[in-house]
């Protein structure tokens, strides 16, 4: 069976403008995501929010169902549900619920409701795998603009509040003594996470977003001595994983999103071998 992109690659003339190439567009989309997934994923690792990322990402499938049913942009629908999930989880945690249990309940309920919801939308049924696993090679120019725009926005937010975010993540008491409100920093991270989840649903899909956040950051941990070094290393590793995964996918005809995560996991294994402490 010939994949659609094979056909496209053979019908397109080689000297076509760069952005016309679906592979280049996919690569750029993935790199845009990598640049922000590195630093944000570091916070997910530092705060042990891995499950929180899952909850937000699974809620995004519900967002896909809603978007398709009401004919609004996928990005808008997923952003809204991811945001709602982030705020709900934050509120429940502040009220003293056990974090892991609540996240387990919410994440899987949202995923299940989303899957059931999607089944009512005939047009979406066929596309479901592309939302679960992403479809980076069908990224168009508008997607590219959204991904880079959103990534730049989140990155700017993280850079602007960096010192406060790091202090509040390290120790809330020390942060409060310095006049930092940890609740605000938590909200900043939750919102950033929701935005990045919405952006990456086309790239790696909602099942593997958490992996894009956590695996590069986990790989960077052993190689870094400061939070900044870890965030930068995570971004580099994520970018490397995107490039390697896409190349692999092109050569061996494997699904792109999972290939990227496999590449990231390989980097993680290598980082364990060359760990510095």
């Amino acid at each position: 069976m010939i994949m659609p992109w094979i056909r496209r690659i053979t019908t397109r003339a080689a000297p076509a403008r760069m952005l016309d190439d679906f592979f280049i567009r996919g690569l750029l989309a993935g790199l845009g995501l990598a640049v922000v997934a590195g630093p944000l994923g570091s916070f997910v690792v530092w705060r042990r929010m891995a499950y929180f990322g899952d909850a937000t990402a699974h809620a995004a499938i519900l967002g896909v169902a809603i978007s398709l049913a009401f004919g609004v942009s996928i990005y808008l629908g997923t952003l809204a549900t991811a945001m709602a999930m982030a705020v709900t989880v934050s509120a429940l945690v502040s009220r003293g619920q056990a974090m892991d249990t609540m996240l387990g309940v919410l994440a899987h309920s949202a995923l299940a409701v989303g899957l059931v919801g999607v089944s009512f939308v005939p047009s979406a049924r066929t596309d479901l795998t592309s939302f679960l696993f992403g479809d980076i090679l069908t990224v168009g120019r508008p997607d590219l603009a959204l991904i880079w725009g959103g990534a730049a926005l989140v990155l700017a937010l993280l850079v602007w509040r960096w010192q406060r975010l790091v202090t509040a993540t390290l120790n809330e008491e020390l942060a409060m003594a310095a006049g930092i409100d940890p609740r605000i920093e938590r909200l900043v991270l939750s919102i950033s996470l929701a935005v990045v989840v919405a952006l990456s649903i086309r790239v790696v899909g909602s099942l593997l977003i958490s992996a894009m956040l956590i695996v590069p950051a986990a790989a960077a941990r052993g190689l870094s001595r400061t939070p900044e070094a870890m965030a930068a290393a995570a971004a580099l590793i994520a970018a490397g994983a995107v490039a390697a995964g896409l190349w692999f996918s092109l050569r061996l005809d494997t699904p792109a999103g999972p290939s990227i995560v496999v590449a990231a996991a390989t980097f993680f294994v290598l980082s364990q071998v060359f760990r510095r402490g």
């Binding site: 690792v45 530092w46 042990r48 003293g96 010192q163 406060r164 790091v166 202090t167 993540t169 390290l170 120790n171 008491e173 020390l174 942060a175 409060m176 003594a177 310095a178 930092i180 941990r221 870094s224 001595r225 400061t226 939070p227 900044e228 070094a229 870890m230 402490g277």
Partner: protein, 256 residues
Amino acid sequence: MSALIEARDLTIWRPGTKEPVLSHVDFRIDPGEVVTVVGPNGSGKSTLVRALLGHMPLAGGQVVRQAGLRIGYVPQRVQLDTAMPMNVRRFLSLPRRIDAAAASAILARTGVEGLERRPLSQLSGGQFQRVLLARALLHDPHLLVLDEPTQGLDQPGLVAFYKLIDEVRRQTGAAVLLVSHDLLVVMRSSDRVICLNGHVCCEGSPRQVSSAPEYRALFGGGAEGMLALYRHDHDHDHDHAVDQAHHHPRGASPDA
């Protein structure tokens, strides 16, 4: 002289309940003063500290902090997650960045010079407490707030740490608010001791407090004898209480 922090008729509820952790507590600390808060577990010591710092909602009363008051704070039981790589140098620059000279100077002051590049996770308990103290001393605080700063230190480490706090206080003239379990070690260098158990049980000079019936009821009658023993033990150059008073004019001498 106006108080650095003054609290009047402070009442605080356990979060999410209307059960008071502290009721009708009055507190004040003046510039240069060393105040120690002692009390059993769950007596509200840390809650009092957090309320004074403005980190707790008040159910009643008020807290007035002097305008522009700079506080250096060492919270109770700081446990840093190893998930975040953090070396000493970077830690000192949170949240306000400082230059390398300031960092090495403050580390030298607390006796942990040269540790800038060391990850926090590789510090011993004593080194870590000294780094926390160094961070608290940045930006010239008027008041040092130390909430059980010697937890996890052994006896020599603990004595050395209190010695350091004494030194720092003499150099900087900062007031010190100390919360502690280590009654016997701590009380001798305090100007004032507050014995807390949900309310202020007793308050006064270390000598007054250690002989107060309320204090003895909380900590047992042996406490005072041990205090004397400790003082005797620590200054092994002389055995006479008079000499001790001479060496430690701010300390806990009987007629202070």
